[in-house]
């Protein structure tokens, strides 16, 4: 039997190209394992062969998504790949999203199996759950790159099973994050017996396991359109980490749990005051040189003068979103909105990097 041919997908950092400054690196590939794929190959032994490692800059992927995916498809075809392994991405959001997109695309287009790994807080996990690809499996890892060996070992064990064609068990058996795909199974007890047993356990306070976990995706209501903006008070919000020079409120590069609002009253442009950028998740140089890129004040003032809307709220809402835990960022959003409503803000322009 031919050994299963594997393609690895990495970002610019793990491929050894560079850090944040190289996030615009276009898609490239090596016909061999590179970076963490070398260790992955060692863990896979003879069960599978990594024949190509493709890589792409985190920013470039998202800014040219369709084109990059098309090219990755060609590489996979040319190299006769059967399994794609993306990441592990840990908490890197752009990277994790890209890993899920690559696996989804190749599984849909070419029927490949996809294996990826990332922290449960990674935004890629949401996309994975939405896609529900039967052939894509996402393994939870810790946040820290230090856990690379654990992550690779977990993924390698599973990839070997896929590679040699062994039957794949449920999410709880294998350890991947469930896709909520319903699978039929024959068991000894009839449904009515199992249901009654489950009910008796529940009533007695004994542990029981539902056979059909119902995952309710968070429904975010769609606000109705605004009739016009003639009387509207518009507020600006930015998660790009723009803060006053000196960072008086102590924002962190990663995992912030707070937000603040900073005065833009009397300013016609962000360049009229002094700011700095605290955000570990993107190359800050351009934002630092011109914070209007994150808080488009100069353009808004022009439009305010031209009466495109009634007035601009005299503060912008600020936070820094790098590696923010979903629960923390949700709380930030909810409390920001409470303040906005209390202040008579009618609509918000939120800018994220």
């Amino acid at each position: 039997m031919q050994v299963a041919r594997v393609m690895c997908y990495l970002n610019q950092f793990f491929a050894g190209v560079g850090g944040e400054e190289k996030a615009e690196t276009p898609l490239g590939f090596y016909k061999e394992p590179v970076g963490p794929s070398k260790r992955l190959q060692a863990l896979l032994g003879n069960s599978a062969k990594i024949v190509v490692t493709s890589y792409c800059g985190d920013d470039h992927f998202h800014e040219h998504r369709d084109e990059v995916l098309e090219k990755i498809g060609q590489i996979a075809r040319n190299q006769d790949v059967k399994i794609v392994v993306a990441g592990p991405a840990f908490l890197a959001g752009r990277y994790g999203s890209a890993c899920v997109e690559v696996c989804h695309f190749l599984s849909t287009l070419a029927g490949l199996h996809g294996v990826t790994g990332m922290s449960v807080e990674n935004p890629g996990v949401d996309a994975y759950k939405k896609y529900k690809d039967r052939r894509v499996f996402l393994f939870p890892t810790s946040d820290a790159i230090l856990s690379m060996e654990d992550a690779l070992s977990t993924m390698a064990r599973f990839i070997s099973k896929l590679a040699v064609g062994l039957a794949i068990g449920s999410a709880s058996e294998e350890g991947y994050i469930p896709r909520c795909i319903r699978a039929d199974e024959v068991v000894n007890k009839r449904g009515v017996e199992r249901a009654v047993e489950m009910l008796l356990n529940k009533l007695a306070g004994r542990p029981f396991a539902t056979e059909i976990p119902v995952e309710r995706p968070e429904q975010i209501p769609i606000p109705p359109r605004m009739e016009n903006l003639t009387d509207a008070c518009i507020a600006l919000a930015c998660t790009g980490g723009v803060v006053p020079l000196g960072n008086p409120d102590g924002f962190r590069m990663f995992k912030n749990t707070q937000w603040r609002k900073y005065s833009i009253d009397k300013l016609n442009s962000m360049k009229d005051a002094k700011w700095e950028v605290i955000h570990g998740g993107y190359n800050n140089a351009f934002m630092l040189a011109n914070p209007n890129y994150g808080v488009p004040l100069d353009a808004c003032r022009q439009l305010e003068r031209e009466k495109a809307f009634a007035r601009l709220y005299p503060y912008f809402y600020a936070t820094s979103g790098a590696a923010g835990l979903v629960s923390d960022i949700r709380a930030i959003g909810m409390t920001m909105v409470r303040d906005m409503k209390a202040e008579g803000v009618d609509a918000v322009l939120l800018v994220s990097t």
């Binding site: 996030a23 998202h62 975010i220 359109r225 605004m226 353009a299 322009l349 939120l350």
Partner: protein
Amino acid sequence: MAFITAMSMVGQQTGASRVVVGTKLRHPCGDPNLPEETDLALRREIVKCALGALQMDVNDPTIFVPNILSTPE
């Protein structure tokens, strides 16, 4: 709310109702490669697109593309 970001697909997947495609991840509202006036004009266009999106009926998370996109590589 109108959400301006270069990661518009992710914004849409997360459920933001009106997502405006930003120029680039690191500078969503404009392009430092452009001369100052053109950069400001691009920023205006992005903001106008966002203000327009606020006034549009949408049933699902929708991506809006400003009239001018990024400069060539």
